[in-house]
């Protein structure tokens, strides 16, 4: 679903590469966390996927499309195939909740009838149907993020990428958002989430890819855990949600 092959990128004026020969393969229906400190290259990688940036070398294939062939005129159409959730929500401030979600469908050329049918369903999914007529500034941070998620999933994309979706939210709201992403993943959407929040990563027991200095330094396929200081860690048992059939690995070492 998402394939990066030896992708490198150095921004003009920088001596260190933002991405250094990054290779990555995410299968359909996977839920993947992309973690790492600021400057590790997470955002650059996300921007490569959304085609905000282009790599200096390497290949990126998203949903079967080689991004080398995505010219400027194709970018809007390409982006419509993705669902994107942002840290700062990026909602249209002068449009209501309903209109924000409908916007994603309108730009895809959906008919008014289809939109009137789809938007309430999506708002119900994120539990915001009663807030449909409100403007973003009338909502809490968590609600705004749910609108953002509703907008990104309204077109039922095969891939949803979320850049620090819980960074501005409190613990309880963070849990709600992650649960929602999990629910969407259960419907069959491939999800890639960047985060700093170790609680979020560790409670969900999904694949965790760790980046450092523009490189992937660790890729834990299942039961991934992450500690902010990136030192070799022991999984604290109290923090981990045990699930049947999952053998808990007692020690994981993050490659420096």
């Amino acid at each position: 679903m998402i394939l990066l092959d030896s992708v490198s990128k150095t921004y003009p004026g920088d001596t260190e590469p933002a991405l250094d020969s990054v290779s990555l393969h995410i299968e359909p229906n996977e839920f993947v966390f992309l973690v790492g400190k600021s400057g590790a290259g997470k955002s650059t990688l996300m921007k490569m996927i959304t085609k905000e940036e282009s790599p200096d070398s390497g290949k990126i294939i998203i949903g079967g499309i080689d991004l080398d062939y995505v010219k400027k005129r194709h970018i809007p159409g390409y982006r419509r195939r993705l669902g994107v959730v942002f840290q700062d929500f990026k909602l249209l401030p002068r449009r209501t909740v309903y209109e924000n979600v409908a916007f994603a469908l309108e730009i895809a050329g959906m008919s008014g009838k289809e939109i009137r049918k789809t938007v309430p369903k999506v708002l119900e999914l994120v539990d915001l149907l009663d807030q449909a007529k409100k403007f973003p500034h009338q909502l809490s941070g968590g609600q705004q993020q749910r609108v953002s998620i509703a907008r990104s999933v309204a077109r039922q994309p095969k891939i949803l990428i979320a850049d620090e979706p819980t960074a501005n939210l409190d613990k309880l709201t963070t849990k709600e958002i992650i649960d929602l992403l999990k629910k969407i993943n259960d419907f069959g959407t491939t999800i890639l989430v960047t985060t700093h929040n170790e609680n979020v990563v560790n409670t969900l027991q999904k694949r965790v890819i760790t980046m450092k200095h523009g490189k992937i330094v660790d890729d834990q396929k299942n039961n991934g855990i992450y500690k902010l200081d990136e030192s070799p860690i022991e999984r604290p048992p109290a923090r981990v949600v045990q699930t049947p059939g999952h053998a808990l690995k007692t020690k994981r070492k993050l490659v420096q």
Binding site: G63, R81, V84, K90, A108, G109
Partner: protein
């Protein structure tokens, strides 16, 4: 993987990618009309939701349209007034009393040979006397003393005249030459009363330069105001759009096409233009109607503008106002949005 396998895989990937991209293009092309309708809907809603910025842009646009109208009108009425005054100026050539109408006709034909002559009007001594009577008809004192002897004496004393209007008041040398050198003119012109072209020269020169200033100055002023207006409106709309640049970025990130992003901004600017055009048109119309009697009192010729405003052409004037508002608004908005549209 061998080189051949790699090449084959690459070929297949290219084919799949291109097919996927073609499908995306196809889907987009199918919905152009629907997209236009949505652009108009969001543009109209946006105008209401950004009412303060919309009002500011509309007011600035209306003011600049009024300034443009004033400039154009000032240029037209100044030119017309100067032309009217110029038209009033004629050269009067005086002939000996009792020069006959036939001779005046010959003199008239002689001077008409000059291409600078616009019109010639002759008047015999009797005609001049008739004019005198007409002008003084209300004065009983004068009428009472005009007995037959007095009448005869006056006709014998009054010069026959020729009033000449010219195209170019700056170029009177050829006429002067005819008056001074033509045999017939030399024989009949009154040597004691010289033609008026020397007397009026200073006046003629002043009016001519006024007319020239009004014409060229009016054009220059109109162009200067037009440029200033566009710059002011452009800055206002650019500021309005600057405050919404994040919105443009957001729309791009979720996959909106450039036309779909730009469209509502253009519609908003066009609505501003339409309202500004109507407001400016109404203010200009009533403003001019209020001020024109005062201008007429000062001897300024406002007839051409009044003729336009009092006829069916008023609709065209209003349409020009609205069209100017739409065009200026649209061009400004398009330039302002493009700046942020190409950034991300």
């Amino acid at each position: 993987m061998t080189k051949e396998e790699k090449a084959l895989k690459e070929k297949k990937l290219k084919k799949v990618s291109k097919k996927g991209l073609r499908t995306m293009q196809k889907n987009r092309n199918r919905h152009i009309i629907r997209e236009k309708a949505r652009v108009v809907k969001y543009g109209t809603k946006g105008f209401g939701r950004n009412i303060w910025l919309s009002t500011a842009a509309t007011v600035v646009m209306a003011i600049t349209l009024i300034i443009l109208f004033v400039t154009v009108v000032a240029s037209v009425i100044l030119t017309n007034t100067a032309e009217m005054m110029k038209d009033k100026i004629d050269i009067t050539i005086y002939f000996k009393p009792n020069t006959s109408a036939e001779i005046l006709e010959d003199l008239s034909n002689t001077i008409k040979a000059d291409p600078n002559i616009k019109s010639v009007e002759t008047s015999t001594s009797k005609d001049e006397y008739a004019k005198f009577l007409e002008e003084n008809a209300s004065s009983d004192e004068i009428i009472n003393i005009l007995d037959d002897d007095m009448t005869k004496m006056m006709i014998d004393k009054m010069q026959a005249t020729m009033r000449v209007k010219v195209y170019d008041v700056d170029n009177l040398d050829s006429i002067k030459q005819i008056v001074e050198e033509d045999k017939l003119f030399r024989a009949y012109t009154d040597k004691e009363k010289l033609p008026t072209y020397d007397v009026n020269r200073a006046e003629i020169a002043t009016i001519t330069s006024w007319a020239r200033i009004a014409r060229t100055g009016g054009i220059v002023l109109a162009v200067v105001f037009l440029v200033i207006s566009i710059l002011i409106i452009f800055s206002t709309i650019r500021m309005a759009i600057f405050s919404r640049r994040e919105e443009i970025y957001m729309m791009k990130l979720v996959g909106a096409d450039k036309g779909f992003i730009r469209g509502p901004f253009l519609v908003e600017a066009e609505i501003c233009g339409i309202i500004a055009g109507v407001v400016a048109g109404v203010i200009s119309y009533f403003g001019f109607k209020f001020i024109s009697p005062k201008l007429i009192n000062y001897g300024i010729d406002v007839s051409s503008i009044n003729n336009v405003l009092d006829s069916n052409q008023l609709i065209i004037v209003f349409l020009i106002f609205i069209l100017a508002g739409i065009v200026i608004g649209r061009v400004s908005a398009r330039l302002a949005v493009s700046k942020y549209l190409h950034k991300t």
